[in-house]
């Protein structure tokens, strides 16, 4: 009796399923977004997610993308990679094989972007990492692209800028040895410094989540360095800068694109005023599309977007460009992915809110870095532009 009840129930349910409103198979383009929504850097994932939400809204309000005479609505599936390599691989695989996405935007930190890239390349799905700066993310991977400039470029640009701007000879570096981005950039900066004739007199490190840098800073202060370069994230910079000032450091401090979150000034206050850093765009005095983006983002989500949001926005538009260039979507996923990849690879120049870029054969953008100065109003002010 009981057993037959179960069977009847299940059959009924499946009947509902079969008879249920058939899904209207709308013309939808599905894009996957792999982002660190939990773990070390939840802010990065959040900004990327918000930027893509704005993009989706734009496209769908305009009636969708017009490709080959058909209108397609756009849908983004956000997946959390928990700041873990295997989770990034699993999320990317899931998006490609289960959700059948046309392309992937993400992952962000190189630690997750490299394994995600392994998967995307093997499963032949185009992927654009907005934020990964490790040269290896795209190397020998025809299906993987990125929107940010690379660490080696940034390291050289900064060394040259420091040499020209401050007329110093001796510099110090303070970086996190356990984190790939600061470590890589510190190394490239040291090479760049050697090329332009700067002497790195102190090359000091700490470990992720350290909050006290007094030992390293004391050593730096006593080394005779005339300038401190610290390629750290915006939540560590305030502590570094404040502690340096407490220890009596009055010389200039220069940073990298990881400083470029508006939260920096909330945390750092007047201590960071007067510092310089290299980044993808300048928020203060932004014009045109960048200005509109900043204002809209701020109105909608309550804070000024950082470079992550801008790069995610540019990645989405690059992808949009590639889909439009493709001309026609066949509905055969493998073919369409190939078409989008080829279109991405053949984009010659692109004008994004983080500047004009063109792509080399590795899938890396060739674009200018912006050096910004933090002014007394706590804004990131355009100082000069440094091009390759």
């Amino acid at each position: 009796m009981r057993k037959s009840g179960w069977v009847v129930g299940l059959v009924l349910l499946s009947a509902i399923g079969v008879a249920g409103v058939p899904l209207t198979v709308a013309q939808v383009i599905t894009i996957g977004h792999v982002a660190p929504l939990t773990g070390d850097i939840p802010k990065v994932g959040e900004e990327g997610k918000f930027a893509l939400e704005m993009w989706v809204e734009d496209v769908n309000q305009a009636g969708g993308l017009l490709v080959g005479g058909k209108r397609y609505r756009v849908r983004v599936i956000h997946e959390d990679n928990e700041s873990k390599a295997e989770s990034a691989a699993a999320a990317t695989t899931k998006l490609i094989t289960e959700d059948k996405v046309l392309a992937i935007i993400g992952a962000y930190a190189s630690k997750q972007a490299i394994p995600a890239g392994v998967v995307a390349n093997r499963l032949q799905t185009p992927m654009i990492s907005p934020w990964s700066t490790n040269p290896r993310t795209t190397k020998d991977r025809p299906w993987v692209f990125r929107a940010a400039f690379l660490d080696d470029f940034q390291g050289r640009v900064l060394a040259k800028f420091i040499k020209d701007e401050f007329q110093v000879r001796k510099v110090a570096v303070l970086y996190d040895v356990a984190s790939d981005y600061p470590k890589g950039l510190a190394e490239f900066f040291r090479q760049g410094a050697a090329e332009v004739g700067l002497e790195v007199v102190a090359f000091e490190s700490f470990t992720t989540k350290d909050r006290d840098f007094s030992a390293q800073l004391t050593k730096i202060k006593n080394s005779g360095a005339e300038l401190l370069f610290t390629p750290q994230y915006y939540d560590e910079v305030p502590l570094i800068v404040k502690q340096a000032h407490q220890l009596g450091w009055t010389k200039p401090i220069v940073g990298s694109d990881s400083w470029g979150s508006p939260e920096l000034m909330k945390l750092c206050g007047d201590d960071c005023v007067g510092s310089f850093f290299s980044t993808h765009w300048a928020v203060a005095g932004a014009k045109g599309a960048a200005k509109a983006f900043i204002e809209r983002f701020q109105k909608r989500y309550g804070y000024v977007p950082g470079d992550v949001a801008a790069l995610a926005w540019d990645s989405a538009h690059l992808l949009q460009q590639a889909i439009l260039d493709c001309g026609q979507l066949t509905g055969n996923l493998a073919q369409d992915r190939k078409c989008v990849r080829d279109a991405l690879a053949s984009i010659k120049t692109y004008q994004g809110i983080t500047g004009a870029m063109r792509f080399n054969e590795e899938g890396d953008p060739i674009k200018c870095a912006v050096i910004v100065r933090i002014n007394a109003q706590h804004e990131f002010e355009f100082y000069k532009s440094a091009c390759p």
Binding site: D40, K43, D235
Partner: protein, 235 residues
């Protein structure tokens, strides 16, 4: 203002500590001890994620409760905040030491770590003692949180993770159940970390610091001031 913050924080964290004990530790009192470690870990993840979900991903800054003043004594640079933190920490540790060594409650706590099964037979209200221990521990952790944020005013949901592990290392290095040992253990760990960074290559800091911890525990298997386990320890 500062004292008010400190006291209110300590009270709040004490309440959370008691709640956590009730939910995640009490049901597991007769389970393998390590099971409680896992629920403790899960409570930690839950609190961190809830923080992330409620307060958002943005870093928060800690308001300045005391204006920084920098003192220079010869080559030594001190700030009033850091001096006060060290002083207050020592004061709290001394008070805790007195409590554990001289009061009846402290005696009950110590007895519990020796033989937990026999305690009720001696007329000790085990539940009350455990609740008070949790309240006390959490309140002190809350105080540490306030002091830490005053010195390093950038707040994020996972900021307690590494500090928590280090606290565990320091406490065990000193020896279980010894408060002077924990103070010394913490001091040694901090001393090694700073001095490796200051005198050697700072990239090797963790490698050297934890090798020293490993060596100390190899040659002093029960920490600096700890006593060997009693034979009938519940594991």
């Amino acid at each position: 203002m500062f004292l008010l913050t400190l006291v209110v924080t300590m009270l709040l964290t004490a309440v959370i500590g008691v709640l956590v004990e009730r939910v995640a530790y009490r049901p597991l009192r007769d389970a393998p001890r390590a099971s409680a470690a896992i629920t403790g870990l899960m409570v930690g993840i839950f609190l961190e994620t809830a923080n992330l979900a409620l307060l958002g991903a943005s870093r928060k800054t800690f308001p300045t409760l005391l204006e920084d003043t920098v003192y220079r004594l010869g080559g030594v640079i001190l700030t009033n905040v850091k001096v006060m933190i060290v002083g207050l920490a020592l004061l709290l540790m001394w008070a805790l030491h007195l409590l554990v060594q001289k009061t009846k409650l402290g005696m009950a706590m110590r007895a519990m770590s020796v033989d937990y099964a026999i305690l009720p037979l001696m007329g000790v209200p085990v539940n009350t003692v455990i609740v008070l221990t949790f309240a006390l521990g959490s309140a002190l952790a809350g105080a540490a949180g306030v002091l830490f944020s005053m010195a390093y005013p950038v707040l994020e949901p996972y900021m307690g993770l590494l500090i928590g592990w280090k606290a565990f290392v320091a406490a065990i290095l000193g020896g279980r159940g010894s408060i002077p040992g924990a103070v010394l253990g913490g001091f040694i760990l901090g001393f090694i970390e700073i001095f490796v960074a200051a005198l050697f290559v700072s990239t090797l800091r963790d490698l050297i610091a934890y090798s020293v911890v490993l060596l100390i525990l190899t040659y002093r298997p029960y920490g600096l001031f700890g006593e060997p386990y009693s034979a009938r320890l519940r594991l």
